[in-house]
C-alpha cells in the first residue's frame, strides 16, 4: 500500500504546481506510487485532516490539480472525495467560489492528542515501540503454548468486535483489549500489566480520529493471522507476526509525528 511518502523533489514539484502552501502538505499530496486505489486516496486525505494538517474550512485544490498531484485519475479522486463526503470530512459547494472544503470540527481531545504526538519525539516513540516489541512479541509466543480453548475463543470475539467497530474509540478498545488478553492468555501478570500500561500510553495516539495510524481492516486481518498462529501453538509465527505489526504501527506513528512537526515549523 502506498504510504505517506518520502520528501522527494518530485513531491515538492507537485505541491508547487497545485499551489498548496504549508511545509507539511507536500507529503500529504505526494504522488501515490501504485496508481492509487480509492481507499488509499481517501485515507491519505483523511489522515491529513485528522492530523490537522489541513484545517477546518480550508479549500482543497481543484479535482484536476489534486488528481494530478496524487497521480491518480480524476475518476478515482472523485470517488475518494465522495467517500470523504460520506464520512462528513469534506463538503462540496457548487458554483462560483465552489469546490471541496474540509469539514473537521476539532474537539479538545483530538487537539490534545495531536499536541502529544507532535511533542513526543522520534526517540521516545521508538522507545515505546521497542518496549511494545518485547512485551507484545513475548506474550504472543507464550500464549501460543499456554492459551486455553476458551481464551482463543475470547480473542476471536475481540477481533470480531474490532471488525465491527464503527467509532475510533471502539476500535482502540477492541485493539488494545486483544493485546492485553494475549498477555493474560500467556499467564503472565507482569506482561499483562506492562501491556495495559503500554496500550494506555500508545493506544490513543494510534487511533487519533481520522488520523489513525492503523487501518482497521488491515489490523483485523493481522489479528486473525496472529490468532491462527496461537491456536496452532506456533509461538515463533505468533511472535513474528506480532513484531511485524508493532513495527508497522510505530513507523506510521513516527511518520505522523514528523508531519506534525513540519507543519508547526
Amino acid at each position: 500500500m502506498a504510504r505517506l511518502g518520502a520528501d522527494t523533489p518530485d513531491t515538492l514539484r507537485a505541491v508547487t504546481e497545485v499551489g498548496v502552501s504549508g511545509a507539511a502538505r507536500h507529503v500529504v499530496f505526494a504522488p501515490l506510487g501504485d496508481g492509487g486505489r480509492v481507499e488509499v486516496v481517501a485515507r491519505r486525505i483523511s489522515e491529513a485532516i485528522g492530523l490537522g494538517l489541513i484545517a477546518d474550512g480550508e479549500q482543497l485544490p481543484s479535482e484536476l490539480e489534486l488528481a494530478g498531484a496524487l497521480n491518480v485519475s480524476t475518476v478515482t479522486l472523485r470517488e475518494a472525495l465522495s467517500l470523504l463526503r460520506q464520512r462528513g470530512l469534506v463538503e462540496t459547494r457548487r458554483g462560483r467560489g465552489g469546490g471541496s472544503f474540509v469539514r473537521a470540527p476539532v474537539d479538545a481531545s483530538v487537539e490534545r492528542l495531536r499536541t502529544v504526538l507532535r511533542e513526543t519525539g522520534v526517540h521516545e516513540l521508538r522507545e515505546i515501540g521497542d518496549h511494545l516489541l518485547a512485551v507484545t512479541g513475548t506474550a504472543a509466543r507464550l500464549a501460543a503454548s499456554r492459551a486455553s480453548a476458551d481464551q482463543v475463543e475470547r480473542l476471536a470475539s475481540l477481533v470480531d468486535q474490532l471488525a465491527a467497530a464503527d467509532t475510533v474509540g471502539e476500535r482502540r478498545r477492541a485493539d488494545g483489549r486483544f493485546h492485553i488478553e494475549i498477555a493474560a492468555a500467556a499467564q503472565s501478570t507482569r506482561l499483562t500489566r506492562q501491556e495495559i500500561d503500554l496500550q494506555g500510553e500508545i493506544g490513543e495516539l494510534l487511533w487519533i480520529p481520522f488520523g489513525e495510524a492503523i487501518d482497521r481492516d488491515e489490523r483485523v486481518a493481522w489479528h486473525r493471522a496472529v490468532l491462527a498462529a496461537i491456536a496452532d501453538g506456533d509461538g515463533d509465527r505468533a511472535r513474528g507476526l506480532t513484531e511485524e505489526h508493532v513495527e508497522l504501527a510505530i513507523s506510521r506513528l513516527i511518520e505522523f509525528h514528523l508531519q506534525l512537526s513540519r507543519h508547526e515549523s
Binding site: S145, G176, I180, A183, T189, T192, I196, G200
Partner: protein, 241 residues
C-alpha cells in the same frame, strides 16, 4: 485409584469445601439484601450491600488462604451504581489489614474491569451453576495470578450477582506441594482445561498446558455435591522422569 491419589482428592475436596462454605454464607446474606430492598418496593443500593461487609472481613481473617472475597453485583441491579463489587482483599505479601478492591469500572477505559465477561461471573450467570476458574491473570481487577471460586446469587427476587472467593495460585501451590511430593517426582495438579495448578517439577510449571500425550493422567473424582460445579474435575498428571 492409588491410595495416595486418594489423599490428593481429599485435599482438593477440603479446599473446595472450605472455600464454598464461606461463599454460601455470603450468597445467602446477599439474597437477604436483595429481597429486603425489593420487599420495601425499591432496588437495593451499595449501602444495603455493605451489610455483608463484617462477614466478608471475618472470612478473610478466619481463612488465611483467601486472597479476597465478597459479592459482585450484576450490572443494573443496584440503584446507585451501574456496576459494583463489595470485595475485600488481603494485600499480597500479607501483614496489613484487608483493603477494599478498587477497580476502574468505566467501560470506556482500556484498563477497566469488564467483569460481566469474566468466566467466574458469566458462567454462574448463564448456567446458574457454581464455577472454579483458574489459575488466570485477573487483569484490571486484582492484577494477580489467582483461582476464583464463584456461586450465583439467585432467588425469587431474581439474579443479583455472584458470591466469590479468590485464592492466589502461589498459595494453592504451597498447599498442594506436600501432597504432590507424596505422589512421587514429576507430579502436577492440573485443572479441567489441562492447565497446571501446581507441580513439583520444572518440566510442568504452573500456568502451562499439559497435553494428552504428556505422562499419565488420573482424574480426582469430585464428590456428588460438586456435580453442579463447572471447572471440575481436576487431575493428577505424572510425567516421565
Amino acid at each position: 485409584m492409588t491410595p495416595s491419589a486418594g489423599v490428593a482428592a481429599t485435599r482438593v475436596d477440603a479446599l473446595l469445601r472450605d472455600t464454598f462454605t464461606g461463599i454460601e454464607t455470603l450468597r445467602s446474606l446477599a439474597i437477604d439484601v436483595h429481597r429486603g430492598a425489593l420487599g420495601a418496593g425499591r432496588a437495593p443500593t451499595t449501602g444495603d450491600l455493605s451489610a455483608i461487609r463484617p462477614t466478608v472481613l471475618a472470612h478473610l481473617s478466619a481463612q488465611a488462604r483467601l486472597a479476597g472475597t465478597g459479592v459482585i453485583a450484576a450490572p443494573g441491579v443496584l440503584a446507585d451504581q451501574p456496576r459494583w463489587l463489595e470485595w475485600w482483599r488481603r494485600p499480597p505479601g500479607g501483614g496489613s489489614a484487608p483493603l477494599p478492591l478498587t477497580v476502574d469500572l468505566d467501560t470506556g477505559n482500556i484498563g477497566s474491569y469488564d467483569y460481566p465477561l469474566a468466566p467466574w461471573f458469566d458462567v454462574p450467570y448463564r448456567t446458574g451453576r457454581r464455577v472454579v476458574v483458574g489459575p488466570y491473570v485477573d487483569y484490571a481487577g486484582t492484577d494477580e495470578y489467582i483461582l476464583t471460586f464463584a456461586a450465583p446469587i439467585s432467588s425469587d427476587a431474581g439474579f443479583f450477582g455472584v458470591a466469590a472467593a479468590d485464592i492466589r495460585a502461589g498459595d494453592v501451590e504451597r498447599a498442594m506441594l506436600p501432597t504432590l511430593d507424596s505422589e512421587g517426582p514429576a507430579t502436577a495438579l492440573v485443572n479441567a482445561t489441562g492447565r497446571v495448578l501446581a507441580s513439583n517439577t520444572p518440566t510442568m510449571i504452573v500456568g502451562s498446558m499439559t497435553h494428552s500425550g504428556s505422562g499419565t493422567r488420573q482424574e480426582l473424582p469430585p464428590g456428588a455435591e460438586w456435580a453442579d460445579c463447572v471447572g471440575l474435575p481436576w487431575f493428577l498428571v505424572r510425567g516421565q522422569c
